[in-house]
């Protein structure tokens, strides 16, 4: 029973992570990319919780709270950046923001 | 204490000149001249006070603690070789300030600061007897020189300054590695970790270690000297630097490489040097001929003179590795006479540049008609450069060659052919600049009073060195001969055996 829960929980987390990753890679709209990053973060959080429940340790949930906090901060910074990018480039296309090209 | 004064006078003078130039530029120039003159007089007084200089080695020594826990001391010492080099440094240094009197109008204070600090670095290099301190001074002369080329140079100065810096810095780092290597090898063997030159002499090490450490030192010195194929920084640096920069580069900076070979490479690594000697001589000959052929084809006057330096410095490494007292005496003479004669040619090139604003010899010619004094001076130094007897360079080259003949006749023949090539390029200077028809529409005033003050002492000294070289050679006689005492015994035994 436990085994099944763990593996299916991790599978779900992996699937979510892959979805997020693929999203980041294929979407050009920065907002969508940000959303996908959030999905990946949540996938990682899910994996922590699953692992925490496996060993009956609180650490997993502690980590999730950390991730949640960090994600909130990240979203706020990220949205601010997106606003700036839109302001400067008049577009939300992530590939347009390539002025750091070598 | 007088030894510390040599360096500090220049450093303090440099700082003063920098500050004072904010109010009065001429005063800054006078301060520089004064600092160098004081040093020059101090140097002469050391010579004066040691009548037995012929038979003495170390004249003065000074040691103070610096970082005792690492075995680093502030250790200075002077012998005949250092003394001659110092006198040359201050002598040419004074002219370096004088020749820049009108040429440098921009950032005068910083210029004189750099000039004096380069000279201070060179002075330190010639004096120091602690390898760590040696490396320190080696860098001290590098950085101000970088500014001298990069700020007050000609049109392509940035490139030249970079190139100069990278070449000398990279090779200097190899030397630092070798210094540290020697430090640890000596420390492990004896238990005392020290950078002191005298302690490091006669360090016992395996042949392989010795070879690598020697190559590290050699790297720095052959780049500085320079030996073909490490010479390519030199034509750019010389031709792009301001006149004083070229004068100091050619007259003094190159000599630190030669000095390093004589002071460090040979005594610290005797057997590895002997091992590499035939190769070093070969590179010397290649340098002589290669430099000459390049000099022949140049059209930029300063670049031409720069390549003649490459050729002349070939004689230095050639003679040093001949392991022979006569050749070594020739090398010391070559260091001095080349400093004077090539320095003078750069000064002349600078004077011409001031007049017609070009260094291209194809647009010169016929200056004899307009500026006979300048042309006679030019003739004398061109002749010095081709090794005419009666001028100092002949003494140097003849001694080098006659000494090297004992070591390696075949290479000496090729080195002697360099003299023919020297004739070709030197006379080309004469022909293109001073003889021929006067073509430019610019006016060529003859040398000014200030320029005459520079050229006349140079002319007198090159002739004096050609006719009465013995007093100068006596100064280094003992220093050189002790290096070859053991050597000499073994060779005479050999030659007896042959008979």
């Amino acid at each position: 029973m436990n085994e099944l829960q763990i593996s299916s929980g991790l599978l779900l987390a992996g699937a979510l992570f892959m979805l997020g990753l693929i999203g980041v890679l294929i979407r050009r709209n920065i907002i969508f990319m940000l959303v996908c990053v959030e999905i990946m973060l949540n996938a990682a959080g899910l994996a922590f919780i699953v692992a925490g429940s496996k060993w009956a340790q609180p650490d997993g949930q502690v980590m999730f709270i950390f991730i949640l906090t960090m994600a909130a901060a990240e979203v706020s910074v990220g949205l601010a950046l997106i606003l700036q990018i839109h302001h400067q480039l008049k577009t939300l296309d992530g590939d347009a923001a390539n002025s750091m090209k070598g | 204490m007088i030894l510390v004064a040599f360096v500090t006078i220049l450093m303090v003078g440099g700082i003063f000149a920098w500050i004072i130039a904010n109010w009065n530029k001429d005063l800054a120039r006078w301060i520089s001249v004064a600092a160098l003159s004081i040093d020059f007089i101090l140097g002469i007084s050391i010579w004066w006070q040691n009548p037995t200089i012929e038979s003495s080695t170390w004249l003065l020594q000074f040691t103070a603690k610096w970082v005792p826990s690492l075995g680093i001391s502030f250790s200075l010492a002077i012998d005949g070789l250092s003394l001659l080099m110092l006198l040359l440094t201050f002598f040419l240094g004074i002219f370096g300030v004088l020749i820049s009197w009108n040429e440098i109008q921009d950032r005068v204070g910083f210029f004189h600061f750099n000039l004096l600090w380069v000279l201070a670095g060179i002075t330190g290099v010639f004096l120091t007897m602690d390898l760590f301190l040696f490396y320190f001074f080696w860098e001290v002369m590098l950085i101000p020189m970088y500014f001298l080329i990069g700020i007050w140079g000609h049109e392509n100065r940035r490139y030249a300054a970079y190139k100069f810096f990278i070449f000398t810095q990279a090779s200097g780092l190899l030397m630092l590695l070798a210094i540290l290597g020697l430090y640890f090898v000596h420390g492990r063997a004896t238990g005392t970790f020290t950078f002191n030159y005298f302690d490091l002499l006669n360090t016992q090490m395996s042949a392989g270690v010795e070879r690598w450490l020697m190559l590290g030192f050699l790297a720095a010195f052959v780049v500085k000297l320079p030996v073909v194929p490490f010479h390519t920084w030199l034509p750019d640096a010389h031709s792009q630097a301001s006149t004083a920069g070229s004068l100091i580069l050619a007259g003094l900076l190159l000599k630190t490489g030669a000095y390093g070979l004589i002071r460090f490479v040979l005594p610290l690594f005797p057997s590895a040097s002997a091992e590499i000697a035939p190769w070093a001589m070969l590179f010397g000959v290649i340098g002589i001929l290669y430099g000459a052929s390049l000099a022949f084809s140049q059209t930029d006057l300063k670049r031409l003179v720069a390549y003649t330096s490459v050729s002349h410095m070939g004689f230095v490494i050639f003679g040093v590795f001949a392991f022979n007292e006569i050749a070594m005496q020739g090398v010391v003479m070559q260091m001095i006479t080349h400093g004077i004669s090539t320095g003078a040619l750069f000064v002349l090139a600078g004077s011409i540049y001031e007049r017609i604003h070009t260094r291209d010899i194809t647009s010169m010619g016929g200056f004899w008609t307009k500026a006979p004094f300048m042309s006679v001076v030019g003739l004398i130094f061109v002749l010095a450069s081709l090794g005419l007897p009666g001028l100092g360079n002949f003494v140097a080259e003849f001694l080098t060659l006659i000494g090297s003949w004992q070591a390696n006749p075949v290479l000496t023949i090729f080195a002697t052919l360099g003299v023919v090539a020297a004739t070709a390029y030197s006379l080309r200077i004469m022909q293109k600049v001073f003889l021929g028809n006067f073509t430019t529409d610019k006016t060529i005033p003859d040398l000014s009073f200030r320029e005459k003050i520079i050229m006349i002492p140079l002319v007198i000294s090159i002739i004096w060195l050609g006719l009465f070289p013995q007093p100068v050679m006596n100064v280094v006689k003992k220093v050189i001969s002790i290096q070859f005492v053991t050597e000499k015994v073994s060779t005479t035994e050999n030659s007896n055996g042959d008979k």
């Binding site: 390539n98 070598g102 | 010479h231 390519t232 007292e325 004899w368 070709a424 006379l427 022909q431």
Partner: protein, 625 residues
């Protein structure tokens, strides 16, 4: 009288003229220039008188120790013996006459003071050369005269071609000097000294006759000698050196400097005697040169170039004499040659001056009446050069060489035949020159008749080149041998091969016949039937141009030495080694461009990179783990 005074006076004169030359009034310049050499000549006379009256063998004086390093200790020291006395006598006297001549000849030149300064410096260097007691000091003088030769050939420096000729002279002789220098290195290695007297005494103990080292050293010394004396294969600079003013050609390129090679070999004869093969080569060089230069002289039309080739040819005789160990004969010919060749050059200079720098003989003619003094003195010089019998000095000196080249102990029939052929050609080209210049009709107008300043030196030299011959008379003419007796302490005398004792008069007869028939040939070709020479020239045009070009040596050197050197120098102007470092820089830049390409600035590419990297790491962990 101090020995130092002789070279010091011209040096002083030169110094004054260099420092104050342009400020001196014009008439002071020759006073200083010629005066210093004149005083030097008087000093020489006093020295010579003391030398002979006290029957000294040598006078030595050391001025100061030049260098002293580990056993190498040349001094600025002079050594006067019979050989150097003859040389300094010729140098100061002929030099003085030429200075006097120049005082008038160069009067209109802007570089009047400069000219005398160089000329004085030359006299000083030449005296140093012949008085030096060691080979390093000799080398000093040797290079010093080379320098003055350079400066004087290029005296009119605004002409590009004069500068070229001057450089050529310096560089070509420097090639020989290099050989000489290497010879000095070898000598020092073996004897640990470069003092000439010490070497001369030590050499026979050190080396056996025919030893290989002696041979090599001798050949190296010969290398120096052929450079300075313009012998094969380094003769090409002398004809071009005629670009200098005529007094320079007379003093440097005829009378004194070019015979320095003869002096060197005579001075180091102790070494050459140990290497008979090398001596043989000296003779061969001389014989080949004298014929080669003679043929070339036949085809020249420039008056001074004829004289230049004739100088090369006459020095060839001296070398041939040295080659058969006829030392004093070589020196005798040197002296007589100095008189008559200086005379010829000065007379030629006067002619050229009179015709406003016209040097082409075919544009001269008929000057006999216009310039009588020049004509007569030139005639005397030419007769001496052509060795017309009995009266001329050249006959006695050249006859001695011919005789000894056959009958001397190292004599050889080939040397004799070459010498005879040379003598024949010499008298043809000499009288061709005379006939073309002074006979026939006037082609160029005489602008200017030379004054006494020019005439008097010519007359004195004409006298010297006549009576000079009588101080050494052969067996068949009373056997009067002041000259060779005088030289005996320095230069060994030569013995005659067996079977030749009685036939000297026959040789003289042959030589005289050859010389006179040469004159006759010239007479036929250039006076009787002037068309004949034109016909001959056109029928053998190739040969003519071959001879005219000096047997193609210039073209040869140009093609195989000068041009390859210039070519290499020019294609390497930007320094191939520097290009290697440039390559290094280029490589670093190229790497930079490649790596910069990966920094596309597109975020998604970076993420992709992270992902791929992560996957690879995971895969690696799984495979390894």
């Amino acid at each position: 009288m101090n020995l130092l005074v002789t070279p010091l006076l011209p040096l002083l004169g030169s110094f004054i003229l260099i420092v104050a030359g342009s400020r001196l009034p014009k008439r002071m310049v020759p006073l200083v220039g010629a005066g210093s050499v004149g005083l030097s000549a008087i000093a020489t006379l006093i020295l010579g008188y003391r030398f002979i009256s006290n029957s000294l063998t040598s006078i030595d004086i050391t001025a100061w120790q030049w260098m002293d390093v580990a056993g190498f200790s040349p001094a600025i020291a002079f050594h006067l013996d019979a050989l150097s006395l003859i040389f300094i006598f010729v140098i100061t006297f002929v030099g003085f006459l030429i200075h006097v001549y120049s005082a008038e000849y160069m009067i209109d030149d802007d570089g009047y003071a400069r000219f005398f300064a160089y000329l004085n410096l030359f006299v000083c260097s030449m005296l140093t050369l012949v008085l030096a007691n060691n080979l390093v000091l000799l080398y000093f003088g040797w290079e010093g005269v080379g320098l003055c030769s350079y400066l004087l050939i290029g005296f009119w420096y605004t002409e590009e071609k004069n500068g070229y000729a001057a450089r050529k002279a310096f560089i070509v002789t420097r090639v020989g000097d290099t050989a000489l220098g290497i010879g000095l290195f070898m000598l020092f290695q073996h004897f640990n000294t470069l003092n000439i007297q010490e070497i001369a005494t030590q050499a026979p103990q050190h080396w056996a006759v025919g030893s290989e080292t002696a041979m090599i050293v001798s050949l190296l010394l010969l290398g120096g000698a052929v450079g300075k004396s313009a012998q094969l294969p380094l003769q090409t600079w002398l004809p071009d050196a005629m670009a200098g003013p005529s007094p320079v050609s007379a003093l440097i390129h005829a009378a004194t400097m070019v015979t320095a090679g003869v002096y060197l070999i005579a001075r180091t004869h102790a070494i050459f005697e140990l290497a008979p093969d090398a001596l043989m080569i000296v003779g061969i060089v001389g014989a080949a040169t004298l014929v080669m230069a003679g043929f070339t002289a036949l085809t020249q039309y420039d008056l001074k170039r004829v004289l230049a080739y004739s100088t090369i040819s006459q020095i060839g005789y001296m070398f041939m004499a040295l080659g058969v160990s006829a030392w004093s004969a070589a020196i005798f010919h040197f002296m007589i040659h100095a008189f008559f060749k200086a005379l010829l050059f000065l007379a030629a200079g006067a002619v050229i001056h009179a015709l406003h720098n016209e040097q082409d003989m075919y544009k001269m003619g008929g000057l006999k009446k216009k310039l009588p003094v020049i004509y007569w003195t030139f005639l005397i010089g030419a007769s001496s050069l052509a060795a017309l019998p009995l009266l001329t000095g050249g006959f006695y000196s050249k006859d001695q060489i011919l005789w000894l080249s056959l009958a001397g102990e190292h004599g050889n029939i080939w040397f004799f035949l070459f010498g005879l052929l040379g003598a024949f050609i010499t008298s043809i080209y000499t009288f061709r020159m005379l006939f073309l210049t002074f006979f026939g009709e006037e082609k160029t107008h005489v602008h200017h008749v030379p004054g006494n300043g020019i005439n008097i030196p010519l007359l004195i030299l004409a006298g010297l080149s006549t009576i000079g011959g009588f101080i050494e008379l052969p067996h068949s003419f009373g056997h009067f041998t002041v000259f060779s007796d005088f030289l005996k302490p320095v230069l060994p005398s030569i013995s005659i091969q067996e079977g030749f004792e009685g036939i000297e008069w026959m040789i003289q007869l042959i030589a005289a016949g050859v010389a006179i028939s040469g004159v006759y040939v010239a007479y036929v070709f250039y006076i009787l039937k002037p068309g004949l020479s034109v016909e001959l020239k056109s029928s053998a045009a190739d040969l003519n141009s071959f001879f005219f070009s000096g047997w193609g040596f210039d073209a040869l050197y140009d093609k195989f030495i000068v041009r390859p050197f210039v070519w290499i120098a020019n294609i390497n102007k930007r320094d191939i080694v520097d290009q290697l470092y440039e390559g290094l820089v280029w490589g670093a830049n190229a790497l930079n461009r490649v790596l910069a390409f990966t920094q596309s600035g597109i975020l998604r590419w970076y993420i992709m990179g992270i992902v791929i990297g992560g996957i690879l790491l995971l895969a690696l962990g799984i495979v390894k783990g």
